[in-house]
């Protein structure tokens, strides 16, 4: 299978977004048909008989097919745009680093001859500051490693997140009176999707920016090194040190010796760091002027300075760059696509299309017949494929519990998901029993490969009480299992499993998206088409 790249993820998200906003009326039916067709024509032929392909393979095949369709329309996909832009950005960031590093090096090394350049200033501006930044990064990294989570626990992220949340909340309060419910709901949904993508892709959202930063730093250090060497070769520059504190040259020597540890084993003698005599010889005492300073001592500092930039500036950044690139590759290869949108896509691809619409006998030509037959057999196969799919713990609200039998629920679930029922729980009787149910779930974590299906009448507005119950449910079961909100329409005389109106589906989907949990999603329990 082809490797996943950031541009693939962007295209994938783009297609999901397009599906979500377009074809509002007959969207479900249209998506069902398109994705099933892609599965039958493009995905299945690549699979061995009886083989169960993994999610990334199927999703990648789907993505490739969608891209092919799109490429005929001469449209540039956002992934491609991103790739182009990102490549240019990489070069730009290196150049910007080179220019800035070179420029600041040149301006620092402007030597007029009346006083040697202070090595302490060079070290603090170009070396110690960079070391400080690296240490900060290390501390944050260790903290994150300890918490084992990138998004939620990074203190920086939390600080920024809290500040942003505060701003958003106050902004929301201010504008909510002016915004209509529809706009408000859409804005909340978008906010939720952003958080959701953060959870889904985690560090992948952050790595491209991190890599760019490293490239900038590499450029900066290279520029600085180049100008330092250039000035050393082409100009007579004197480096000295000074301090108001009565620093002992021996102490400076010891500090320099320690700083040079990373490379002193590599280069011998005075090249690695100045000797004690050279340090003594390059001490600037303003009242004595510079004439008494020895020339070899003044010229002895530059290799040490260059090594400092190389070992404390350039090399760590190179390592970080390589590490980030490797981590990006590893994360891309490790994507498991378990979240709601992928689950729904796979469901659409593997669910056979069932049509019960009547037609005149003479209309049914042989080719049509063949196609339908084909669908049927492959459908059965697909159902078998999915027999290993997750079981469902079904939650039925008290209001409709009596109106549907266990068999009805079982057949609806089997028809829609091809899943077995792990149990049926009656919810919303009263707050005490709900609390009891959640506590039970918390204590006895649901068996592996079990998702939750919460049946919800979509014509009921998504009031806070319902949304908070779903959030509490997530807290109780932990981050593993997905929560599918199985939407149904108004009850019919003989069944509660009726199709959902588009407007109600949209309202619920927006509200559920706003939760920002990639593994909580809405799904119509009854296929409008059948």
């Amino acid at each position: 299978m082809k490797k996943w790249r950031i541009r693939d993820i962007i295209d994938l998200e783009y297609f999901f977004y397009r599906d979500a906003v377009s074809q509002p009326a007959e969207d479900q039916q249209y998506l069902n048909e398109r994705d099933r067709k892609i599965f039958l024509n493009s995905v299945r032929p690549g699979m061995q008989e009886g083989e169960r392909q993994d999610r990334p393979f199927m999703i990648r095949a789907w993505l490739d097919r969608r891209r092919e369709e799109e490429s005929t329309q001469e449209a540039v996909l956002p992934g491609e745009s991103f790739q182009g832009l990102y490549s240019s950005f990489r070069i730009l960031f290196v150049i910007a680093g080179l220019v800035l590093g070179g420029g600041s090096g040149l301006s620092f090394l402007a030597y007029t001859g009346d006083r040697p350049l202070n090595v302490f200033v060079y070290l603090s501006v170009f070396v110690f500051f960079q070391v400080l930044l690296l240490l900060l990064l290390l501390v944050l990294f260790l903290y994150r490693m300890k918490k084992r989570s990138f998004w939620s626990s990074s203190p920086l992220y939390r600080v920024i997140g809290r500040a942003m949340l505060k701003m958003l909340l106050s902004a929301k309060d201010r504008v909510s009176e002016k915004l209509g419910a529809e706009q408000r709901s859409r804005a909340e949904s978008i906010l939720g999707i952003i958080v959701n993508k953060g959870h889904t892709y985690g560090v992948l959202c952050f790595l491209p920016v991190f890599i760019l930063t490293q490239l900038f730093a590499i450029g900066f250090n290279l520029g600085l090194l180049a100008t330092t060497l250039f000035k050393v070769v082409t100009a007579d520059i004197a480096f000295g040190w000074q301090s108001t504190l009565q620093l002992n040259p021996a102490a400076v020597y010891s500090l320099v010796q320690k700083l040079a540890l990373p490379w002193s084993w590599l280069v011998a003698g005075d090249l690695a760091y100045p000797s004690l005599a050279q340090i003594e010889g390059s001490r600037i005492i303003l009242k004595e002027g510079i004439y008494h300073l020895s020339t070899p001592a003044l010229a002895s500092w530059w290799p040490f300075l260059c090594f400092s930039v190389l070992f404390y500036g350039l090399l760590p950044r190179l390592f970080l760059f390589a590490g980030a690139a490797a981590s990006q590759r590893r994360h891309l290869a490790g994507l498991d696509f378990r979240q709601g949108v992928y689950e729904q896509l796979l469901l659409r691809m593997t669910t056979p299309l069932v049509s019960t619409r009547g037609r005149k006998v003479e209309d049914a030509g042989p080719s049509v017949k063949e196609t339908e037959l084909n669908y049927g057999t492959i459908g059965q196969k697909a159902a078998v494929d999915r027999s290993g799919s997750r079981n469902l713990l079904v939650m039925v609200p008290d209001d409709i519990f009596a109106a549907c039998s266990q068999e009805q629920i079982g057949s609806a679930v089997q028809l829609r998901f091809g899943s077995a029922i792990a149990g049926i729980v009656r919810i919303n009787e009263d707050s005490d029993t709900d609390a009891g149910i959640l506590a039970n779930l918390k204590d006895s974590s649901p068996p592996a490969e079990t998702d939750i299906l919460l049946i919800q009448e979509a014509w009921q507005p998504p009031i806070l009480e319902y949304i908070n119950f779903i959030k509490d449910l997530r807290k109780a079961i932990g981050p593993g299992p997905c929560i599918r909100i199985g939407l149904i329409g108004k009850p019919l005389p003989d069944t509660i499993f009726s199709p959902v109106k588009d407007i109600n589906r949209k309202i619920w989907t927006q509200k559920i998206n706003a939760i920002g949990d990639p593994c909580i999603y809405t799904v119509g329990l009854v296929n409008n088409a059948s």
Binding site: A181, E182, D399, D430, S431, P461, P462, E465, P491
Partner: protein, 477 residues
């Protein structure tokens, strides 16, 4: 509630049940924000009824319940410790974001407002609804329930009524999308029954509403009469320069004439519209509606005004007058024949339709030049068409509920109805004679009007408008 305070009525209910629609219709305010997405209302909003500068009663729109069962649970647990459970609940939860909406909606209730509970009767009763009704029952305040069905489903009405009987003093069906003036008054009448203390105040309000409505009808009748007067007597005259092309000039003047008539009509309709406090409605009248057809289009003349047989009869009555108006210079010798044939010819001409709307004359001028004159109207059918259009417009405007926002809905119905006829075709001979007299007076060449004829037409129109206001179903054309 204290006796000297203004009675308040809080419209409460589950989100998206049509509270704002009910209020918009009741208060005739189409600026109330309404949408299909639940949670449109987030803050309470007051709608005062002001009579002669004095606030008499106040309706309050509230956000929907967000946590009905949790609120009920808390209220029940508070019952042992305090009498004012709603106040205690608000105090406890006012800073809890989870209960912000619930605290907001309970605010008018803590201030002793009467409760109007709105539900969508086209859906089944659920436990959250029962919790809400129980909360309202626990308040102990006077309350009534309104069934505002969002669609035609009636399967659940009995379920709702059964629940209402347990918790409400009064309940009634009030569809915010179709309710007209009569139903609004009826709703206010039923509000009287929820608390005897409010009867006198509500009587004042109802009387004021009725007077206001009668006044609107009176003004509308005046607007229509004036518009008719202006249209029927309108004429334009221009000098024709020597060597000028008479036919082309006549065609230009006819076009200018028609434009002016349209303008007069549209101005009058606009006045009626603002009288009925419609700010949004009107722009999007169904495109197929006869009202959107041009005043001078074939189909308007086919469907409105008098029927073909009625026209022939009417033209027969005043045939001579029309025949005189047919100037030989204008219509040529073939039309001149009608003058000779008198009444019979007049009737036949009327049957031809809209072609001979206004008379066009070329008059001799003293200094050798000529003057062309277009107007006034000579065909009485035009009066009926203007009347029909105005009455149809009135019925649209006065019956369109302010809470109804699907301005382009019912298009199918409109298309079907556009084949029907207007009001004039159903009038008796007495009514037609009032119109005839008015027409004769208005089109007299001296331009003067007869106050008696005008008064008679106005009185007749007031009757018509009242009839339309009280009709159960008004055909929307």
């Amino acid at each position: 509630m204290l006796p000297d305070t203004i009675p308040e009525f809080a419209i409460v209910g589950h989100p998206n049940e049509g509270k704002s629609s009910v209020l918009s219709t009741l208060a005739e305010d189409d600026s109330v924000r309404i949408s299909a997405t639940p949670g449109e209302t987030v803050m309470c909003q007051e709608f005062p009824v002001v009579i002669d500068g004095r606030e008499i009663i106040r309706f309050i729109d509230t956000p929907g319940f967000q946590n009905p069962r949790k609120v009920l649970h808390q209220l029940q647990s508070l019952r042992d410790s305090t009498d004012n459970i709603i106040g205690a609940f608000r105090e406890k939860n006012i800073s809890n974001p989870e209960f912000r909406g619930d605290c907001e909606l309970l605010l008018p209730i803590t201030q002793g407002a009467g409760i109007i509970y709105v539900v969508d009767g086209s859906r089944p009763v659920r436990s959250v609804d029962k919790a809400e009704m129980e909360i309202l029952r626990l308040t102990g305040l006077p309350r009534m329930a309104i069934l505002n069905s969002k669609d035609a489903t009636t399967d659940f009405l009995e379920q709702w009524k059964e629940e209402f009987r347990k918790c409400f003093n009064v309940f009634r069906v009030f569809n915010a999308h179709t309710a007209n003036y009569t139903q609004r008054i009826e709703l206010l009448e039923s509000l009287k029954n929820i608390d005897p203390d409010w009867q006198a105040t509500l009587d004042t309000v109802i009387t004021a509403f009725k007077k206001d409505w009668a006044q609107r009808n009176l003004t509308s009748a005046g607007i229509i009469t004036n518009m008719l007067q202006e249209c029927l007597s309108y004429k334009i005259a221009r000098n024709m320069p020597d060597g000028g092309h008479a036919e082309r000039m006549k065609a230009d003047m006819l076009a200018a004439y028609e434009k002016k008539i349209r303008k007069i009509e549209s101005r009058a309709h606009h006045k009626i519209r603002s009288l009925f406090k419609h700010n949004i409605f009107n722009y999007d009248l169904p495109s197929r509606s006869i009202l959107h057809e041009d005043l001078f289009s074939e189909s308007t003349w086919k469907f409105l005004g008098l029927s073909r047989t009625q026209q022939i009869a009417a033209a027969g009555l005043g045939g001579a007058g029309i025949a005189v108006g047919l100037d030989a210079v204008t219509f040529g010798t073939s039309f001149g024949l009608f003058a000779a044939l008198g009444g019979l010819a007049g009737a036949a001409w009327a049957a031809l339709g809209s072609k001979g709307l206004a008379q066009t004359k070329i008059l001799g001028m003293p200094l050798g030049g000529h003057e062309i004159q277009v107007g006034p109207v000579i065909n009485i059918q035009f009066l009926y068409i203007l009347l029909d259009r105005s009455l149809i417009y009135y019925s649209h405007i006065s019956n369109w509920a302010h809470g109804r926002r699907d301005y382009d809905a019912d298009r199918v119905n409109q298309e079907r109805d556009s084949a029907g006829s207007g009001f004039a075709a159903q009038w008796d001979s007495g009514a037609r004679s009032i119109c005839s007299v008015f027409f004769r007076e208005a089109t007299k060449s001296n331009g003067g009007t007869d106050p008696v004829a005008e008064q008679q037409l106005r009185d007749f129109l007031i009757g018509q408008l009242q009839k339309i206001s009280h009709s159960e179903y008004v055909k929307m054309m």
